[in-house]
Symmetry: C2
Subunit: 213 residues, 2 copies
């Protein structure tokens, strides 16, 4: 009875690790209500502490959200790393797999995804969040470089990576925000990513010509 399987480990005056417990609660609440409707009070109820307790661990609401975002970036980075490592099948391109992993993460954790890439500039100003994001993106650039071959430049890889990221991010955003649904269009997002990847990866040497004929 004393050790219930809740977020709160101890029954005493002190919590144990309220910081981690709060981040976990925040991520759950963000998924339930969306980042906009998240309130510290509810996270406190969930963790079983008073509403003033979080301020011993975090500066303010934004700081709590930043930590949740960082936790999300770590998850995404790992998911994409796993996807890029799973090249056993070989039939489908590694880059496509990474794109699918990106979309899958967004669909599985829409609230966290919106928090990570959403409008709040403060999230990205956090240096640790930014660093984790960089790690994530550089993995993609590297794989794109591998695909382009040893004769390709770093700038080429970056440009193509941006192209792919842009599409995949659009697919993830429109999917989780129900915009495909609002447009009354049934979309298989993973198939969409596969199709677009193939087209954007194809003939990359020819698209560097003059903008228009």
């Amino acid at each position: 009875m004393t050790t219930k399987k809740t977020i709160r480990p101890k029954d005493g005056y002190h919590h144990g690790d309220l910081g981690k417990a709060l981040v976990a609660a925040v991520r759950r609440l963000i998924e339930r209500d969306g980042p906009a409707n998240f309130s510290i009070s509810e996270a406190c109820k969930m963790a079983g502490v008073s509403t003033a307790a979080p301020y011993k661990h975090f500066a303010d609401k934004q700081d709590i959200l930043n930590h949740a975002a960082r936790s999300g970036f770590e998850d995404l980075t790992q998911a994409m790393a796993v996807a890029s490592a799973e090249r056993s099948q070989g039939q489908v391109h590694v880059i496509t797999q990474m794109g699918k992993a990106y979309v899958r993460f967004a669909l599985d954790h829409p609230g966290t995804f919106r928090l990570m890439f959403g409008s709040s500039p403060n999230v990205k100003d956090d240096p640790t969040v930014n660093a984790t994001g960089h790690t994530c993106f550089s993995t993609l650039i590297q794989e794109v470089g591998n695909h382009l071959g040893p004769g390709s430049s770093d700038a080429q890889a970056k440009q193509l990576a941006i192209l792919l990221w842009t599409f995949v991010h659009g697919a993830a955003s429109l999917a989780i925000d129900k915009d495909y649904d609002a447009a009354d269009i049934p979309v298989d997002v993973e198939a969409l990513v596969e199709q677009a990847s193939r087209q954007l990866l194809a003939r990359h040497d020819q698209v560097l010509g003059p903008p228009d004929g």
Copy 2:
């Protein structure tokens, strides 16, 4: 002095058209602070009325935001219609122009754009908002159909339109949310849209084959 060029037209007890004035104030505030940080109180200050006045015109905060979103969809629809009508030059594809107009709208009105396509499901549940959105998207489908030629099916046009919309939406989102900046990548969004459109529109007859070889 009595008719200042503010949102408030009259100095008397009654406002005149507080509904429109509030929507205008909301759209300004949303651009200044983002949809998340918007408060009715500030919109009231801006319109020169008490904080209870809005409830004579709108049901609640969400209702106000819905009206702002609808106003945004009307603007976007018009911007894209203008872009598709400006086919005088002819050198660049009409569809590309529409995509650029989409991105330009997002960059010019990032707050409204996020409101329109953002996480709040209530915005899209509003039937008039939804209808305006449909109008907007069907314009694109029609142009894509024109591009594909008379032998193409409606489903083909829809599928290709989704592909294009997805990319353009991704570009707009990543640009206004400063995610390109966070990744330390300078991106010319309009050029990006042009490149992607060219690739996604090219060889559309070949991409309908089997998924993988």
